[in-house]
Symmetry: C2
Amino acid sequence: MAAKDPLIIRDRDEMRKWSRSMRAQGSSIGLVPTMGYLHEGHLSLIKEAQKHADLIVVSIYVNPGQFSPNEDLSTYPSNFEGDIEKLRSVHGGVDVVFNPFNLYDYGVYEGGETMKKGEEEKGEKVISCVESSKFGHETWIRVENLEKGLCGKSRPIFFRGVATVVVKLFNIVEPDVAVFGKKDYQQWRIIRRMVLCWISKEIESSYCNQVRDLDFGIKIIGSELVREHDGLAMSSRNVHLSPQEREKALSISRSLYEAKKAAENGERDCTKLRNYVAQTIQKAGGKVDYDEIVDQESLESVEVIQSPVVFCIAALFGNVRLIDNMEINV
Amino acid sequence: MAAKDPLIIRDRDEMRKWSRSMRAQGSSIGLVPTMGYLHEGHLSLIKEAQKHADLIVVSIYVNPGQFSPNEDLSTYPSNFEGDIEKLRSVHGGVDVVFNPFNLYDYGVYEGGETMKKGEEEKGEKVISCVESSKFGHETWIRVENLEKGLCGKSRPIFFRGVATVVVKLFNIVEPDVAVFGKKDYQQWRIIRRMVLCWISKEIESSYCNQVRDLDFGIKIIGSELVREHDGLAMSSRNVHLSPQEREKALSISRSLYEAKKAAENGERDCTKLRNYVAQTIQKAGGKVDYDEIVDQESLESVEVIQSPVVFCIAALFGNVRLIDNMEINV
């Protein structure tokens, strides 16, 4: 089959117009939101989307709303030409790449800056690169409980930014289906929560389209984490690891596997499991940001495993922050 | 012309299905969100919507998300049959009344209650009737600056609740146009901000469809405040006023008119104008919650009138909280 060139759209109105005209012709649309620098993990999301929709839109946008000014927005890796090349190679192809220049730059809000000078100086308010750039944006989506733990502790504006840009993308692309990777476990739970309801364990596997916090008419699909051959969770940030750091970083996935095996063999004490993983990563030279075992739905900490949990890790090797997770269904 | 019976829809999925099938047939849809107990003010919103859309949906839903537990959710007036009767009388008619039973009741979130017990007891977190009812909802829209002043001061969860239910209604009804009354001035600015951009004064009168905080593909229209013959701003809450209170409450609109006239005749000092209005209302027996003169866009307080402002008032007569406002374009 010949490679398919995706249509590249940079303008929001043009994007929405395309979606509406396709839907009017009876096609369903699947959205795969990405920040670019695509790898096999992203391509697996696209393959998942193809199962559920006739046409595929991949968005490529590094979202300033989820980075704080001291984070790595400016060095986040990108390679647009390489991304397009990869998308051309996907079996079945991708129909549109939505690649907006800036989703927040609609003029500075002259009437009142987002922050009073005093607040900024005293550091009273945590802000993202959107506010620090003085873009005139002030509407944010908060998923008040789920946003707090795990990555939310060290990155307090992260999920506010993620949820908000996802709502923007939903409103621009107007998809029928959107696919998110479970690599970013907390993100996927937050998006699902925003769109789909909390559902009881019994109907976990079915989609719950009747109820959801914001009532979007969109089906949210979670796609499994994809690993390199040696077990490292795929991430655009892996490119920043030196060969030595990369080797050491394998301690994350390896210790997670061991913990999962131990749990399956009867170890239910989360403190023991967490200590084992943290110590293994530290011995390898990593700095653990968090290692937590949490309920798969509520993301609340668990002390004794009695129901499905997920073991979530964030750790730094060198300057590279890596996240990984493993579901444990005992 | 014969009166038209609107179709009454209570189910979200049925509502969305209706909208999508109408849109597929080429019709545009106008939404007028209300909390029921309709009066001439609401009917004027419907007439405005008819100018912009082929089909009209009026939602009737008293939103628990914008009431705090100590406010008047339980006594908010309602008269569904009377509302339908009024809607039948509207020239051109209304196509659908969307009247959901509860937009938040999708089961209690077992994993973690919305609030920790300690927080509730200490009163650390201000909550709405949604949280106090333990509905499993936790996603909220915050328009961070505009939600703070005016009514936001005494009702800190109010605009969070309004913005969130409006997003829910937008996602359920999927309208092309939505009409909001400028009676609720801060609300209309917040919704417009969420959907439409802040725009410079020069293009104030034109719709700015290219840019907006959440990128909804919906046109937001503001409809002018409607008054009773004697000048009282129309409100569903007026029914709670005794005849004596009602007479006294006229001090609000009358003093606002006087202030507007004074400004047009050259008085630019906001302190003087505000004192005049506050004293007039107090003399009539009202309790002023706030009287502020603010920029029409940013809603920030103004000391000297130099550009278009709006004079906003909230005052209690008896137990009835009334709001009113007047734009001053000098």
